[in-house]
Symmetry: D2
Subunit: 301 residues, 4 copies
């Protein structure tokens, strides 16, 4: 359970006092506000605030004086057109602020996305909590034998058990020693900013993360992808579900033109055209390298 | 008057349908929402949307589970501390979206602030309106004789009249010819993306501009400054009034620690210390160049 | 001719004093350094400085201690892999600084690319030169009848002549009046920062523009595209020729996987798969809207 | 010693083959190129590449056709003027690329500076090295009793020894277990991307970091400051020494107007003016809070 009763009470309180506003309200998003959706064993994602909705994308694209929306159908058509033709600026007109609790090694991947605002819990200022990510057994994967940067099959039996034990023991011992170094009981106590260096990167941290919709979709494209590390993908998947309710038309366009889209190189497009004309094309005559040819065949046979 | 009756009706309509939300509501900002505040002769600034308030700055700084605010006084102290010590990220947790109508030459200065989202009215796609900035008589300044990049005294009498006539006539003639080149009456009509090049940069354009509070304050620091060109300062001043009502504590801290603050170089600080100790210091012994010394004396005598 | 003899002499001088460096040197780029390549009627692009080459991309991707390159073939394979899989950060490790002279209306499109460094010639501080873009006759296009944001056929005969005359006359008159307002001959002279507003946006400005290779390629992808306005495409095309000599492997990968690549939506990919299986698919059963279907047919028949 | 003989040989090789270039060469920087300057116990900073020098700042500020420099004295005056008046864009025209080896907890602070390009050694793809930061005894500080986010006195005797032992033992054990989980000797071997989560954040990582001079100086202002954590300050100090040789005029201006400058709030400036006029001002009448007053007194007595 990621939340203490006190934290849950604080969150619940936020859901109990609706207020009036003249701003755009996205009903699909209001229902998600503040709810802490669990991710991994101790993490969560919750929406703190948002700005805009599908209509706000059209309103900005049209530089409107009023709400700027026409029919829902018309708006969806515009949004799909904008996405298809890489007109990204109208999507930047929506913004979302999330509170995320996540292991440090996930945070280190996440923060590579630079066009976002971040406030992280400070281990210089505060004591870290004793919470560590320990993978579920079905997520304890071996090193891939084909891919330097990937996972192979799930570990079995004794090996799996040994790994879980090591991860748990090292986490607990590191934290015990962290506490013991900090302790001011009969000693001065090491500075927090130093003691934290003893903690492994499966410890949980948390941050407020604020990002515009265009950059969020770019994040999701890379991190909800099958090549992303499972642990960050787990967060991306939860965020996808939220975004789908927030801006359904934009998310639909994103899915069709980005997530589920296929990018064909000049060479791959030429091969497909020859195939459509009835030719059989082999790698030698494809203009593609061996690896690219394999990737091509994975999609097109 | 910057707005047509139809535009005013669209704006008014937006103010007439408050909705419920669970998000943070800043009462001081709700009152400004959508109202088009006039700037210069045909321009305006109006708030389309916002995210956060003073409390949201503290909430992010504390990475809180709930509203994250303590007493108003305590929050204000934290905000002032953050501003004083250049902890800028919590201020990035507030966001505002403006609709601005402004002359093109002002837009060219404004867009130099890169950390913002923009959708501008497109002169490729649409026909520009016949609206030009013509300075008020008391803003028609001569070139400064001391400063390459500045204004001197206000032009008088005949010269002022001649300038105003030239600006008006050239604007009208350029626009007449713009229309005549576009016309498809008995001719093909020049492409919009080409015809617009005939228009001078005092023509008005408009855009949606979205920015976080930290970057907005940085914009205001540079553009509400006495060295900024009057025409952009006019916009910055109006935005200052809005921000003051939106996040009063943050704006107060900004005023005290940025806008009205004085930055002393190492040399200037040393001179002040010697003066406080009773010494008289001349430029020769100040470590400052002639120009810097003049700037120093302007503040400290 | 875009350059005065004095400017040409200054440029030539820079090419005459090679120096020794321990840094990476890209021979293909050294030959372009400082040469002002003409664009449009008075514009140019010239390379002021650069950092890195193809090998530097691999060196950063491998976080190498030495030069970080293996065989040229191996490096090219890595670069193509990085481009294909959207690993963009190694491409950010190359940087280029250009001096560009361009019409203001082109500059206004260009500056929308925010991840770059810019110093523009200041019309507040200095007097603008009397140089205006007047399109060549074969570039004087009518408004497209199908596309709000596009060009149709080239204007003919009298209409073309009338347009050229209007553009030339308005430019000259605006500049005459600009000079006359600035003049301090028997009058105070209007401030430069005000007088410039009378100038149309086909006047030339110039700037130093510095950008990393990843963002430069993104710029080229959008601005060397057939949907871009011809006048900015003219600059993008010249820059493409320079980049091709600077980082040939990266540019080749960019051409194959971005410029000449085809992006298939989920729906379009499904249609192609059905076609490859021998089915005939009509728009009704494609899952695509009418406009998207047209775009699809333009490529795939 | 941070480098293996093989790494040192690779670095040395880079210093032995000077080449000719037409670009700007900064002699003060050439001498630093590639040299790995040690930081902390296993870290280093080394310059991989650079673009520009002091003259390049002036060249961009003047949008010059040639080298753009006048006398050295004149250039220094311009640079000081630009720095004093927050004209930051010309400083963005210089760029530097560093190879840095640093503990993960330092990397986590460093990466908060978002306007930079980064390629980090990948623990998904490669096996991490067994190198951990263990503080020198005189850097083993207690938690500050006044400041949540600071260090107090250096730990003494037994406590210091106990801390060092814990840090060393936990690092070694975590690494042993990391290796044992990775091992494919008689078992499948855990995926690298998972095993690395067992490693504490004092393990060393490394990256290529590329940044423009303006953003580098901003980094140095915050990280070479006395409030920065010692471990990142150690890197900032080494970089300061390099920048001083690279762009001496810009660094001098930075030191005088930023690093060693004093920022006075509106209230503090008013107090100083009253003091200069002979008044004695107490906190009650200063308009400052207790904490700000203490900070003021630390500087001004």
């Amino acid at each position: 359970m990621p939340l203490t009763p006190e934290q849950q009470a604080q969150i619940d309180e936020q859901r109990q006092s609706p207020r009036q506003t003249l701003r755009t309200v996205a009903d699909g998003m209001e229902q998600h506000l503040f709810t802490a959706y669990p991710v991994l064993d101790h993490g969560f994602v919750r929406v703190i605030d948002y700005m805009g909705d599908d209509a706000a994308i059209c309103q900005a694209a049209r530089v409107s004086y009023g709400r700027g929306t026409k029919s829902v159908q018309n708006d969806e058509g515009l949004i799909r057109y904008l996405m298809r033709h890489w007109h990204s600026t109208p999507f930047e007109m929506c913004e979302v602020k999330l509170h995320v609790k996540l292991p440090v090694f996930v945070a280190r991947q996440w923060i590579r996305h630079r066009t976002a605002n971040i406030n992280e819990y400070s281990g210089r200022y505060s004591v870290m909590d004793r919470e560590f990510y320990i993978p579920a057994e079905d997520k304890l994967a071996a090193q891939s034998s084909q891919n330097h940067q990937g996972r192979g099959e799930v570990l079995q039996g004794e090996e799996a058990q040994r790994v879980l034990n090591l991860l748990r023991e090292d986490a607990m011992r590191s934290y015990d020693n962290y506490e013991s170094m900090l302790s001011q009981d009969g000693q001065q106590g090491l500075a927090r900013e130093l003691a934290r260096m003893n903690l492994p990167t499966n410890i949980y941290t948390q941050w407020y993360w604020k990002v515009d919709l265009h950059n969020l979709l770019h994040f999701l494209r890379l991190r909800a992808d099958s090549h992303a590390q499972y642990e960050i993908r787990a967060y991306a998947d939860v965020i996808c579900d939220i975004v789908k309710d927030w801006v359904p038309a934009a998310f639909g366009a994103f899915r069709d033109y980005r997530m589920d889209a296929v990018s064909l190189s000049a060479q791959a497009a030429a091969v497909l055209k020859r195939r459509l004309a009835g030719d059989t094309v082999t790698q030698e005559h494809s203009g593609m390298g061996a690896r690219e040819w394999r990737e091509f065949q994975d999609v097109w046979g």
